[in-house]
Symmetry: C2
Subunit: 654 residues, 2 copies
């Protein structure tokens, strides 16, 4: 297919005009990037990208990721022009206003065609790596007739400067993801000014060092763009970076090429000047019929391929992965019959052995802590450049890159990613966990070594605030199971929720099996593990490894005639979602003077007042830990019945 | 000076023996790295490193950073052998036990000679970049007679694979930090096995692409090590990476070169085999006198240079930077006389104009958001490779690298670093903020755009959980001032606390000046901004931009005869530290039924129960934000007096 530059230029200018108009109307936004990349995007969408606006969920579509998400008007323009149902031109006119799907940054949950939520720099490209992994894996599993597509990325200088870029491209290069094509909007401008202010890096050399092909083109010469994209499309042995040399804000005669055009409306005068420069005389938010017609024709390019795919595959749906119910029932029955005292990270591995055998779409991995996170199972052989059919990723020491890749895999569909690191290093990938939640992906984080219980490695490795701080993230289920049974239950819950990511916080140290009955009690988030025998004076609320401590504390109190319930609370978020009557049954609304509530968790106490009430007792850790064997630390920091019972008695005035 | 390999080998083996013994005694730890790098470290400490164990705080000492902190026995051995006061051999024998300064990972607050806390991979090298920046800056400011030293780093494959490495070396290369020398322990082994499992990267090519020199040596050939380190020392125009090709666990005949030697005790048999292999027959924790004597001699190398430096400079102390008291008094008086309605980020800039003019040791910067973070002042000219005397760093889009560099600068001493990004991107540098707190550095984070008040950029850019989650970090003061006066007060508090890092959470949007009196009221963390006029029924507690909302709410309640106090709480941590009587005065211990406590903060509600009590009212945001103008979002999410007053009245039964 030969492109006609005479028709392409007005098509690209339509992107520029819509971008200028929308940002101007909102008096807020980023016109520079869409105007700079309009020519490249026009070639990509006119000739190379495989997509069908009438079937945005077509599983074998190429994925297009706008990693430089601030340039959101680029994709909104493209979706409108190529004929997606939304955004409408009214949506675009309402850019950045309440109710418009054209948000400041592209949100995958607001618009079809937006494959992922971008804006936090670097993560779009890193998620694209995950999409490209999922594609190759599914290709290996189902054949090229079913899965055979590219992942195209538009990334800016900012995406490439972020640390996560190093992790992402190292992983992509190592896995030889030849279907991944990154178009680098090389305009050499960042918010502070020229990139010369902050970097001297030879970016192509770095990409080559990571196992990538590197091409270049003049990002405003249609023939040259066509050549470079053609070459990029043809290279499939390694991922490809195409340096598209562009002028930021191209078309705005007085502001282009400066940081002034990056993140603010051009202003009425400059918009007028740009319209004159571009020869664009249509009213704001109007695209002349002929130009729109050219775009809509472009949007129909993929319909035939899509129809053929439908016919060939009988419309196979690789997107939503069903999880068989009750996959763990026999396993749990076995545990009830024969209890096991193991670390919950080991209990997780035991559950995973069953789950990964039953659910072929689960893809595991770890950021270089496989043996510590207990994430590898017999069913999950390595996924490598030589064999994409594997189901286990050695992510390397790349926590952030791993989490982004997991998001990309989950968004691609067809696979369920889980991946491990130490809970403390959730800090390294925290914004990706947040994007899991915002994007409503089923990414499952296996965060082990979840407290001072990890022992000798000391304060740099001992999470204190991480548990509670992850609970603050909206739409994220944070599970902290106390034994083998709860761990299995939490895995079942994590897999069952397709729109909410999960964190499993797991112990390094062995824990006794406390549960003696089945039924997924963790599903309610908290439940009464032990009821008071003596007259109830105390409610102990604990999670994970401290449930054992709570049980010992209850035993000691009961021995003194003080009745104490033990509530295990593996998931606050699920507990919050319960009916008030259930909550009131577990935690009656009685002042602490009459029924003392005590939380026990080896982490920050802040937040626990929600359950203990202000005058309750919070046993926790509001300082950094220390280096010593775990049992010494539990004693030092007061997580023993011996230390807790006197505090409770003091409060009870006994 | 010529090195004698015949004497070096036993010296290196002393490191190996101590490392094996300590890990074996603890039955926990990482012998592989110290054994692998023993030869390189012996050459470095015997000939190149400028240090004096008798004066560990000598400002012009070379800095030695063990970025691969898990190999902590390397530095503990070196400190003991060269003659530091601590660790003693008993400390080493108590490796990883309670009370020993020889913690699992090196902690700067436990031992002199440990320049920074390492273990979280990648950050040691990134902090070393900050140290090297501080060194060049102080050299430019005070001359080479006073400041003229190198920063040496030992980093492993893990440090180099982390994303932050990309940010750190890009910054170092751009700034031409030729006094920074990184010794890469290239053993090609990570925890999961060979590096081939997860990476194919050409690391030297990547470093060259970032503007570094790259050298190599056989890490077990003393002459070759000496050559490479000599070359590295002589190269001063660019930072230097030396690839030291080593065998992990060198000396353990059956386990060396495998991941099995990375993170576990060798076991008695392998220790015995290693002793045989190394010809080491001394008892555990014993170093033969002749070898110890050679080491101690090495430790005396620097005494002369240090004495000359003392004489030359009259013992100039560049470490602790005093902050003049009352630097902002006139400025605050001016504001009280002439109130200003500006965003607190702008108020921060106004305070910084005064402070940076008065305190030459303040070095500012931003991760490519200078104009948005308002971090640049007239006094802070750019610090560049051409002019290190500048005081402003264009960090580029490198939040994590920036935060690490700030830690390194603060640890180096002589400068007070502050740096900005959006509050949401605290997620990107979260673990470095944690290390600021753990290491007790005076790093000051300017986190602007601190709520949905940032408006149109939408949920990816709107912090929700970040504020509360930062408050969970031990030893971190999180300030959220409500107006110009509080902003100035919080800056004064941040500067005054030399052992605690600070976060300043600042608004994008304009806020009225609410304070009408002076005195640093923020110093108590919270204070009564307005006292109820009518009979007090309500206490409103708010922070930052929501204090304005609280005042409006109080006005509306008072108009209906409902008395309401307004408490401004710019810093929870400082409030927690107040005497109980002060706390009880602000927040009397009366049930909410009699005196309703209401928190108002545009972020997570969890944690606020500490102050509202369980039956109080928390006005907050427990979901992701949205893209729209700020005022629309405040209305949508109920942060207006109109929305809050009815909720309060409902609780009061009015």
């Amino acid at each position: 297919m030969t492109l006609n530059p005479a028709r392409l230029a007005p098509m690209a200018n339509a992107i520029r005009a819509l971008s200028m108009d929308a940002v101007q109307a909102a008096n807020s936004g980023h016109p520079g990037m869409p105007m700079g990349m309009a020519d490249v995007a026009t070639v990509l969408f006119s000739k190379y990208l495989k997509f069908d606006p009438k079937a945005p969920d077509w599983p074998d579509r190429d994925r297009f990721v706008l990693s430089a998400g601030h340039g959101s008007m680029l994709i909104y323009s493209l979706l409108y022009l190529t004929g997606y149902e939304r955004p409408t031109i009214q949506d675009i006119a309402n850019f950045r206003q309440i109710g418009s799907p054209c948000a400041g940054h592209p949100e995958n949950f607001l618009l079809d065609g937006v494959e992922c939520t971008t804006g936090p720099l670097g993560q779009g490209l890193a998620m694209a790596v995950g999409m490209a992994i999922a594609e190759r894996h599914l290709n290996a599993a189902h054949g090229a007739d079913v899965v055979d597509h590219d992942t195209w990325v538009v990334a800016g200088d900012g995406c490439l400067m972020e640390g996560v870029n190093h992790e992402a491209i190292g992983l992509a290069g190592h896995l030889g993801l030849g279907r991944l094509k990154v178009l680098w909007d090389s305009n050499r401008i960042t918010i502070d000014g020229s990139t010369d202010l902050s970097t001297c890096e030879d970016i192509p050399a770095r990409y080559r060092a990571s196992g990538w092909h590197v091409l270049a083109c003049d990002g405003h010469d249609f023939a040259d763009i066509d050549r470079a994209l053609g070459e990029a499309a043809a290279l499939t042995d390694k991922p490809v970076l195409v340096e598209c040399r562009t002028v930021i804000g191209k078309g705005a005669p007085n502001k282009q090429g400066t940081s002034g055009v990056h993140g603010a409306a051009l202003g009425a005068d400059e918009v007028a000047a740009a319209r004159a420069e571009l020869g664009w005389s249509a009213a704001p938010f109007e695209v002349p019929a002929e130009i729109l017609s050219d775009w809509r024709e472009t949007g129909q390019r993929g319909a035939k391929a899509r129809a053929e795919w439908e016919q060939r595959t009988s419309g196979k749906d690789l997107g939503v992965v069903p999880v068989p119910e009750g996959a763990l029932d026999d396993y749990i029955a076995g545990l009830l019959a024969e209890p096991k005292k193991v670390a919950t990270r080991k209990a997780s591995e035991m559950a995973l052995e069953v789950l990964t055998a039953a659910i072929p779409s689960m893809i595991g991995g770890s950021a270089d802590l496989t043996g510590s996170n207990n994430t590898k199972t017999k069913a999950t052989l390595p996924l490598t450049a030589q064999d994409y059919s594997g189901r286990y990723l050695y992510y390397g020491i790349r926590e952030f890159g791993m989490a982004c890749a997991m998001n990309g895999m989950a968004l691609h569909g067809g696979v369920i990613p889980y991946g491990g690191t130490f809970l403390i290093f959730s800090d390294y990938c925290r914004n990706a966990v947040r994007l899991s939640a915002l994007q409503q992906t089923r990414a499952i984080y296996v965060f082990t070594h979840d407290s001072i219980g990890l022992g000798e490695d000391g304060p740099t490795h001992q999470p204190v605030e991480q548990l509670m701080s992850l609970r603050l993230v909206p739409n994220l289920n944070v599970f902290r199971p106390c034994d083998t049974i709860e761990t299995a239950e939490c895995w079942a819950l994590a897999l069952a929720d397709t729109d909410t990511p999960s964190v499993l916080a797991l112990s390094r140290q062995n824990l006794p099996q406390l549960r003696t009955e089945g039924g997924n009690l963790s599903a309610k988030g908290a439940y009464r593990l032990r009821a008071a025998k003596a007259d109830r004076k105390v409610i102990l609320i604990a999670t994970g490894s401290e449930v054992e401590v709570a049980v010992a504390t209850a035993d000691a109190l009961e021995a003194d005639g003080i009745g104490a319930d033990v509530i295990s609370m593996p998931c606050m978020e699920l507990f919050e979602a319960q009916h008030q009557s259930y909550k009131d049954d577990l935690l009656p609304n009685v002042p602490p003077e009459q029924l003392l509530r005590v939380s026990i968790e080896a982490g920050s106490t802040m937040g626990w007042e929600r359950y203990t009430m202000a005058n309750g007792l919070q046993i926790g850790l509001d300082r950094f830990g220390a280096s010593a064997p775990a049992e010494d630390l539990f004693a030092k920091f007061g997580f023993t019945a011996e230390a807790i019972v006197p505090k409770i008695k003091a409060r009870l005035g006994i």
